[in-house]
């Protein structure tokens, strides 16, 4: 089970992984639209009042492209035999945790909680917040961190198998590539 959730890339062939990745992406678009989530960055997720299927899908595509291109360039630098499909599949599959997080906004639950907290700020009631809302936001924050770690583990395992990378230096390059992809995706999404 842990192989399936954390590192399916050693066992399953590229066709199976690609089909799974595409299915997960389609699921992500549907979940994002249903639960009013915007994926406005490679490692970003925000809940909004309303969104469209086209917006969610374009965001997901841009996030995937930014991450894949950067990791592919890094992969080729580490190992010239790195294949594009072996980078694309982990990027597609690793995004599953973000898509699952959208379920927490069922019935606009999380959106309403955050709106409630923000609403109190201009009224100078920052010293008397609704602790219920605060606790829920904090809990969701902790769960989000856990899912973010899950995303990084899946992505790194896929990258490691695709490139046969070894050494601390490449871990650092991998982390930097995620940060650059986040910046690049945000810039592209603002421009579009």
């Amino acid at each position: 089970m842990s192989t399936l959730l954390l590192n399916p890339f050693e066992k399953y062939n590229d066709k199976q992984l690609l089909i799974s990745g595409i299915s997960i992406t389609i699921l992500g678009s549907i979940l994002g639209f249903v639960f009013n989530a915007n994926f406005d960055g490679v490692i970003d997720l925000h809940f909004v009042k309303e969104t469209s299927f086209v917006t969610v899908t374009s965001e997901i595509i841009i996030d995937i492209l930014c991450q894949t291109i950067l990791l592919f360039i890094l992969g080729k630098y580490i190992n010239k035999k790195t294949r594009f499909v072996d980078i694309l599949s982990p990027v597609l599959i690793a995004r599953l945790p973000f898509y699952l997080l959208t379920i927490f906004n069922s019935n606009d639950f999380m959106f309403k909680k955050s709106e409630n907290l923000i609403k109190n700020l201009p009224l100078g009631q920052i010293d008397n917040p609704d602790f219920n809302d605060l606790f829920i936001m904090l809990l969701f924050g902790l769960i989000s961190i856990g899912f973010l770690i899950w995303f990084v583990i899946i992505l790194y395992n896929g990258f490691k198998v695709a490139t046969n990378t070894k050494g601390v230096k490449n871990y650092i390059f991998f982390a930097v590539s995620i940060i650059i992809a986040e910046i690049l995706s945000k810039m592209l999404l603002i421009m579009l």
Binding site: F9, K11, Y12, V161
Partner: protein, 89 residues
């Protein structure tokens, strides 16, 4: 299974005697093990499989139940190991 490392100090083992089971002639000397025998049994089996599949990593991956990049990485690691062993000769 042919041991390749000293169980006492982990140094590489040499062949010092070969015998004929037919006429009991023995030949003594210091013979370095061929490179193929200096890698682990798992790696030797991998190379055999590589030959038997005519060098098709895709076919090997299907037979071993592993992904193509996993098998390719294993091959690259063995190539690296053999290159290191060759440089020591």
């Amino acid at each position: 299974m042919l041991p390749i490392q000293c169980p006492s100090c982990q140094n590489a083992l040499l062949v010092t005697q070969l015998s004929c089971t037919n006429c009991t002639t023995s030949v003594s000397g210091n013979y370095i093990l061929p490179i193929f025998l200096q890698i682990s049994k798992e790696e030797q089996n991998f190379i055999l499989q590589f030959l038997l599949t005519s060098g098709s990593l895709k076919e090997m991956a299907a037979q071993m139940g592993n992904s193509y990049p996993t098998v390719r990485n294993k091959l690259d690691d063995i190539i690296q190991k053999i290159t290191t062993l060759q440089s020591k000769l």
